[in-house]
Symmetry: C2
Subunit: 266 residues, 2 copies
DNA sequence: CAAGTTACTTTATGCCGTAAGGAGTTGCAA
DNA sequence: TTGCAACTCCTTACGGCATAAAGTAACTTG
């Protein structure tokens, strides 16, 4: 299920997102000294999500990691939904921003995509945060600004660039999702990829004896694979996805080049 | 959160997926006549998911729609997870398969992508079913076989085709996800897109006075938009996503063409 | 030192998937 | 015809979830 951003009080949410990290958290009034900070909670929540995935991210789990109950967090954060916004933007801060344009936009876009790929594998739960309602945090804008700086080098007009951003982000997310999910799956289901594929493919023959006649093109594709050299150090699915990503990037970059040539003829 | 397929008994799961629909459901032994069928339950579950999205899909809700309790469903279906597998494959049966190759693979891929787009918008919850562990149902293979039939027309070798399938599926899913989520968001959060954007963009100025200096490329992109003609009959975000999809497809098709020319020089 | 403010806890509500066990219905063998 | 086994469907219960409401204790200020 997709998690939606910022359902709560928009003002409070934006204030939390854009607060200068670490500052403005000094308190003076009466009452007991706060034992936690928003940053502490966000860090703990990210640690929980990195380890146990989005399904493991409960207010109880985050509280427990900090030696508190779930309810204690509500002093600092309006709701779980807002906490996820903060986690998302905080994680995005990891992404580098200094892409070298000296070797052209093609190399820079490749580097950007590679960094995205690695980022999503470090924090797979980010893929579960909906893109329809962007968090609008500072680091999300950083990422967008960095990509745009590269893309303006193509000389294409803004209207086209805006779509290109969507295409690139969508493609990277789609490609990495397969790997992220296949890594998460064993933990969350208790079945390894190997066990799963073995059980399924054996059953497939039993349950569908006319497979070859019914799906001739699938069979044609599969039969060619038998002759490929198998490197089993990296699981098949993951290697396949990695290659899909690499060649998909080439396809897209070639497509962008074609767009440029079309828009600036000669 | 992503839902994983087939955690339960693989044999039972595959048997349910590949059972000839409507047949083999006649019972003879002792015991009361079954009041439901697997098909009835799957249809009801799809109806619930179409209306209320994945978060609204509970065993209680599906049972209620059929005038039963949640537990009654467990007579027919091993678990919610298996039910989702069945829903997924059953929904995929809607997709057409007779793509005309007379006008070339380019037009056929475009038609395929368009059908996928519409399918996902009819059943947005399908986007929440993990791709890492395919359901391996008959209609999933139908879809794959149909796409492969088109792609074999390119004359590219199997290894490349397999990656192309991943690229295309990933791209379509990524692109449509934005629209699907933006349509679901108002129902699930109680806030319309307009309200949401208005509140956020107003706050953005307040909370980040140095926006223009900090994100020059974002501002450059946005300023060009002011001169575009606004057609407000279709919400901005959705129209933008639609255009991103269309131009992304062109980019990918051009990229495939470049791959073909490179592999068959001259 | 009392009052007010705040951090944090306990308790409770209403969701969820599903395990366990019981009630009622039916077909078949004795 | 009777009794049993098989079967559908129900009620109840458990442990999980987010979070509302209310209570407790720590602290500053008057």
């Amino acid at each position: 299920m997709v998690v939606y951003a910022g359902q709560g009080d928009a003002a409070r949410s934006m204030a939390l997102l854009w607060r200068a990290a670490g500052s403005g958290e000094v308190r003076t009034g009466p009452g007991p000294k706060p034992g936690l900070t928003v940053d502490l909670i966000v860090d703990a929540a990210i640690a929980v999500a990195d380890e146990d995935g989005m399904p493991g991210l409960s207010m109880r789990a985050v509280g427990e990691r900090l030696g508190r109950t779930a309810m204690a967090l509500y002093t600092y954060v309006p709701s779980k939904s807002e906490l996820i916004d903060l986690m998302h933007d905080h994680a995005l801060a990891e992404l580098p921003g200094d892409y070298d344009l000296a070797r052209g936009w093609r190399a820079a876009v490749r580097a950007w995509a590679q960094d995205q790929w690695e980022f999503y594998l470090r924090h797979p739960w980010v893929l579960q945060v909906s893109q329809a309602r962007p968090v609008l945090g500072p680091h999300e804008y950083d990422m967008l600004d960095n990509l745009l700086r590269i893309l303006f080098e193509t000389g294409l007009e803004s209207k086209i660039l805006r779509r290109l951003v969507g295409t690139l982000v969508g493609f990277v997310r789609g490609a990495v999702q397969v790997v992220a999910e296949s890594r998460q799956a064993p933990d969350e289901t208790g079945v390894t990829d190997d066990e799963w594929w073995y059980a399924r493919s054996a059953l497939l023959k039993e349950v569908s004896p006319d497979f070859a006649e019914r799906f001739p093109n699938v069979v044609k594709l599969d039969s060619d694979r038998a002759f490929e050299v198998m490197d089993e150090t990296v699981p098949y699915l993951e290697r396949e996805a990695r290659e899909t990503f690499a060649s998909g990037m080439t396809v897209i970059l070639d497509g962008i080049e074609a767009t440029i040539e079309r828009s600036i003829p000669g």
